[in-house]
Amino acid sequence: MPFALLLPALLGLAFLLLPLVALLVRAPWHSLPEQLTSPEVWQALRLSLVCATAATALSLVIGVPLAWLLARTDFPGRGLVRALVTLPLVLPPVVGGVALLLALGRNGVVGQWLDSWFGITLPFTTTGVILAETFVAMPFLVISVEGTLRAADPRYEEAATTLGASRFTAFRRVTLPLIAPGIAAGAVLAWARALGEFGATITFAGNFPGRTQTMPLAVYLALQSDPEAAIALSLVLLAVSIAVLAGLRDRWMTAS
């Protein structure tokens, strides 16, 4: 193994792992059982998992077709649209949250109509958390799926159409199974991003235990008053994330 590669690789690994190790070293192990039995922690954890999963599902439903549009069709301004799709990646999440408020808030560009026509308000609701997380996480899915679609042979879709499949059927029955590993990878990325989402969530959906207080919010607020509790909460979030990601990787990513 070339030393020139091995050294930076190990440095990279150490750099990523060091903060985690520090978290473990400084963890208040004695108060951990207390944290773990607190109903607020479970409430926040459950909300986090539910919202991240819902956000991933929503990203799949609208993100995969968007990726298809970007990868398989040609329309003027496609490059610009692709850049816009990736915008939430560079946008500070808090700004994303403010933008969501301005768009979907009670007084927002679209939100005021949702409110006056359907009586739907999104801020301060669990739905709001899901939307905020989707906004931030979906670009990961779109980019991943678009890349896989570009690498996939479009002639399979052609073959399907010559067999009588509409473009949608061809997509559903041929393309989708072919790009399943890419979709799974993108979904895992999006899920992970949604789980750790903080800025857009607290800005758009606020912070209310059991309704909009996800783990990252709980960690942040715990840090204000009780840093030890914050570390304990972080450990819980970390352990759950690792368990889920490792489990998914084995189940999905290798099945192609």
Binding site: L102, R106, N107, G206, N207
Partner: protein, 274 residues
């Protein structure tokens, strides 16, 4: 480097005191700007003078008044620069105990200051320089006719409070408890500015914030003073920090804050005298 500005020499300390005197002298004057100019002249004539950067960690609610004071300070002491880190007092306290390089800490509650003093990260005993009173921020024109704290418990009203871990939330809870009210907000916001923003954006109908925040928001919100706020007045303590990179200038800044001139700026922003 702020570290290079750290010169704990007696001569400088003397110079700092001289500057202080000059400042308090000028603050007696009604016309501030020329007085400041003369103050800078006097300190300029002094053999040793303040220089370097003063880093001030201050509660978010101090943003407007401290920014004004910072400009005053820089004018009075050419060659100095005041940089601020405004935020939730708890976050700031956590950064300070975590080793963030800062000269001055101005907190929005004694409790958050205690985080710093418990770790013995302060160099001077904290002194209360202002007090802040709660107020209700409502939508412009107060469409929901809120007059009392009790009005916030009306059903259908979207109220945001600060989270109990931050001073404005603790104060609000104190006021609510004192009045025997039970209020379920739509959100416990991470700091007072976030709470106010929700009302400014009309996402919430009302927020319990500081009077100073209501004033700073101008006509984007309407302030409602409520009698129960007297039960929960926040003391704002200020202290020089132990590892202050520029202790001399920092002391001068604290003196400015506590001076009559400083108090005037703060009271204009809605703060109460200590």
């Amino acid at each position: 480097m702020t570290r290079s500005a750290r010169r704990p020499r007696r001569t400088l300390q003397v110079a700092g005191v001289a500057a202080l005197l000059a400042l308090s002298a000028c603050s007696a004057s009604d016309d501030q700007s020329p007085a400041s100019a003369s103050a800078s002249d006097s300190s300029g004539s002094s053999p040793s003078k303040l220089s370097g950067t003063v880093t001030v960690f201050a509660a978010a609610s101090l943003k407007e008044s401290f920014t004004t004071l910072g400009t005053e300070f820089e004018k009075a002491h050419p060659g100095t620069k005041v940089t601020f880190n405004f935020g939730g007092s708890d976050t700031l306290a956590a950064s300070i105990t975590g080793g963030a390089p800062a000269d001055v800490f101005a907190a929005a509650s004694a409790k958050t200051m205690a985080i710093v003093t418990d770790k013995k990260d302060n160099a001077t005993t904290p002194v209360t320089f202002v007090r802040n009173q709660l107020a209700i921020a409502t939508l412009p024109g107060n469409p929901d006719k809120i007059a009392l704290l009790k009005d916030l418990t009306k059903s259908g009203l979207k109220v945001v409070l600060c989270d109990k871990t931050v001073p404005c939330g603790a104060a609000a809870q104190k006021a609510l408890d004192a009045s025997g009210l039970k209020l379920t907000p739509v959100s416990y916001e991470q700091d007072v500015k976030s709470a106010l923003t929700k009302v400014e954006l009309k996402e919430a109908d009302a927020a319990v914030v500081y009077k100073t925040d209501v004033r700073a928001a101008g006509d984007r919100v309407e302030g409602v003073d409520f009698p129960e706020s007297a039960d929960a007045v926040n003391d704002y303590p200020i202290a020089l920090l132990k590892d202050a990179p520029n202790a001399e200038a920092a002391k001068a800044f604290i003196a400015l804050v506590r001076s009559a001139e400083g108090q005037q700026v703060l009271s204009e922003a809605g703060f109460l005298k200590p």
